[in-house]
């Protein structure tokens, strides 16, 4: 176990090494077949977006990686380890932080309890002071009930609590949804800082204008598949094509 773990660590620390590889992923909720063979990979330090219309399967892809959907087939390699057979609580311990679309702030916990809730999965997470420096609002309201925060503050909290755990791969689902432009801008600055820290990020996003300047690559989903991959450098020339795909 310890040998294998060291190999993974070495592997992960190399910039540009493959951190996540999803191959031919199918996912089902009961009888409904949601993902139809999703293929993509994410390299260490990259920020990749999953774009697409509602119902294209972007959120389900993140949930499938976390083993939060029903049945799955195919392959999900994290740090070179196959995770398809892993129990849900084992997957975050590979160094993954998940921020759900509905934010998942716990109403029976105050802000600081929410922040301290997720167990540490790896060493090297941000300290509570660093987190409060990054999100000063949370410090002010640390004794408030979690769900009494504004939508933007709740989103900050949902992000902040997975930064403490030492996760190196962040799966962020629609973090700008329904938030005021000034908050969206603040979240963008946070993502830039996280990238500077070497975090790898998969971002499910509706707000393309938010995602465009941040991402290294964009993956476009439709009907439960990745139908297009666009690198940041290709973006200017393929903008119209992308707009057609997204229906905007």
């Amino acid at each position: 176990m310890s040998d294998a773990a060291e190999v993974f660590t070495d592997y992960q620390e190399r910039d540009g090494a493959e951190l996540l590889r999803v191959s031919d992923l199918h996912a089902f909720y009961g009888e409904s077949h949601i993902l139809h063979g999703v293929d993509f990979d994410v390299k260490r330090g990259e920020l990749v977006t999953l774009l697409g219309r509602n119902g294209a399967g972007r959120s389900t892809t993140l949930k499938a990686i976390m083993n939060m959907v029903g049945r799955r087939t195919g392959s999900i390699m994290i740090n070179g380890a196959e995770t398809l057979g892993m129990k849900p609580h084992r997957i975050p311990r590979l160094g993954i932080g998940y921020c759900p679309e509905e934010r998942g702030i716990f109403s029976s916990l105050d802000v600081e309890e929410n922040l301290l809730l997720p167990p540490t999965v790896r060493s090297g997470g941000m300290s509570i002071d660093e987190i409060y420096a990054m999100f000063p609002n949370l410090l002010e309201r640390r004794r408030s009930q979690g769900t009494r925060l504004s939508g933007g503050e709740q989103q900050m909290l949902a992000m902040a609590r997975i930064l403490r755990t030492g996760a190196r791969l962040l799966l962020l689902d629609e973090i700008t949804e329904g938030l005021a432009p000034v908050i969206v801008q603040a979240l963008g600055e946070v993502l830039v800082k996280l990238k500077e820290r070497g975090m790898t990020i998969v971002l499910v996003e509706q707000n393309f204008r938010f995602a465009a300047p941040l991402a290294d690559r964009h993956l476009v989903m439709e009907h439960g598949r990745i139908i297009e991959e666009i690198a940041a450098a290709e973006l200017p020339s393929r903008r119209d094509h992308l707009n057609t795909l997204l229906g905007v």
Partner: protein, 295 residues
């Protein structure tokens, strides 16, 4: 002699004391039910039987193994709680995905099996468990005589209730429990082993019942049916306090014991029904219970 509304002070205080003792048991048992209901969403109908198993295990341990009261007080909750964990792991978990009504039926069936088996082996007539030597006798407080063992029961039950409240409301483990109650799937996505948390929680709730059983053994006749009669009242207490509220379970348990005690003083005929009357009134005015959250 001092009289309180026409009742001698000693009688009044004596009944109040009895009510408080009963209330302590209501609190311990409804607390266990609330903890289990919070995370498992199952109404644990086996709770009375598990309380009875606690008292019985103490009795049998004394008779056959010579385990004294203090050892039993520590050991029996662990053993019966362990049995509870096995029940959760191998029986309740299999039906966890079904409607929670099935969990209620299943635990009800288990309660009947435990009760029936022990009736078969030992009959329904109760046996008495000797009061431990260190807690015999009592003190005269001037206005009433306070048996040492009853004072101990009150202290021990309240101590365990408050410790449980502290763990759940003020510690990290308790935060896991509260969060797991709200959103178990997200807790798994944070790396918390929720199935294990559920097993431990059920075991803990059962251990609370068994602890109450050991405390009760020197006070009440130890018989296979001692739990089922008590459980009905405890369910009424839980309904009054509000399902799943920790503090509500404790406060309501004590309050209902006191109300029962007071009714015994002034209108003994209603003593056995007064809690149900309160339940009816609470259900009509605040259906979620005094401490429950309206949903």
């Amino acid at each position: 002699m001092t009289m309180i509304f026409g009742v001698p002070l000693a009688v009044f205080m004596g009944q109040l004391m009895l009510g408080l003792i009963n209330g302590a048991f209501y609190a311990l048992l409804s607390l266990g039910l609330a903890v289990i209901f919070g995370l498992l969403k199952i109404v644990n109908f086996a709770h009375g039987a598990q309380y009875m198993l606690g008292a019985f295990a103490a009795l049998l341990g004394l008779q056959y193994l010579g385990l004294d009261y203090w050892v039993a007080l520590l050991l029996v909750p662990l053993v019966v709680g362990g049995l509870g964990m096995l029940i959760e792991r191998f029986i309740l978990r299999r039906i966890a995905h079904l409607d929670h009504l099935y969990g209620l039926l299943l635990t009800f069936g288990l309660a009947l099996i435990f009760e029936g088996s022990l009736i078969n082996l030992f009959g329904v007539s109760g046996s008495s468990y000797p009061t431990p030597a260190a807690l015999q006798g009592g003190v005269n407080l001037g206005f009433m005589f306070l048996p040492t063992y009853r004072a101990w029961v009150l202290v021990a039950a309240l101590g365990v209730c408050l410790a449980t409240w502290f763990i759940i409301e003020r510690t990290r483990l308790g935060a896991y429990l509260r969060a797991g109650t709200e959103n178990p799937a997200l807790m798994q996505a944070f790396g918390v082993n929720v199935p294990q948390l559920i097993t431990l929680t059920y075991g803990f709730g059962v251990a609370l019942a068994a602890f109450a059983g050991v405390l009760a053994a020197p006070l009440y006749p130890v018989s296979p049916t001692m739990g089922s009669s008590l459980l009905i009242v405890v369910f009424a207490v839980v309904v009054i306090g509000g399902m799943g509220s920790i503090l509500g379970a404790i406060v309501t348990g004590l309050a209902m014991g006191l109300i029962e005690g007071l009714t015994k003083v002034y209108y003994p005929e209603a003593a056995n029904t007064v809690i149900f009357l309160v339940m009816v009134v609470v259900l009509m005015l605040r259906p979620a219970g005094l401490f429950g959250k309206e949903t």
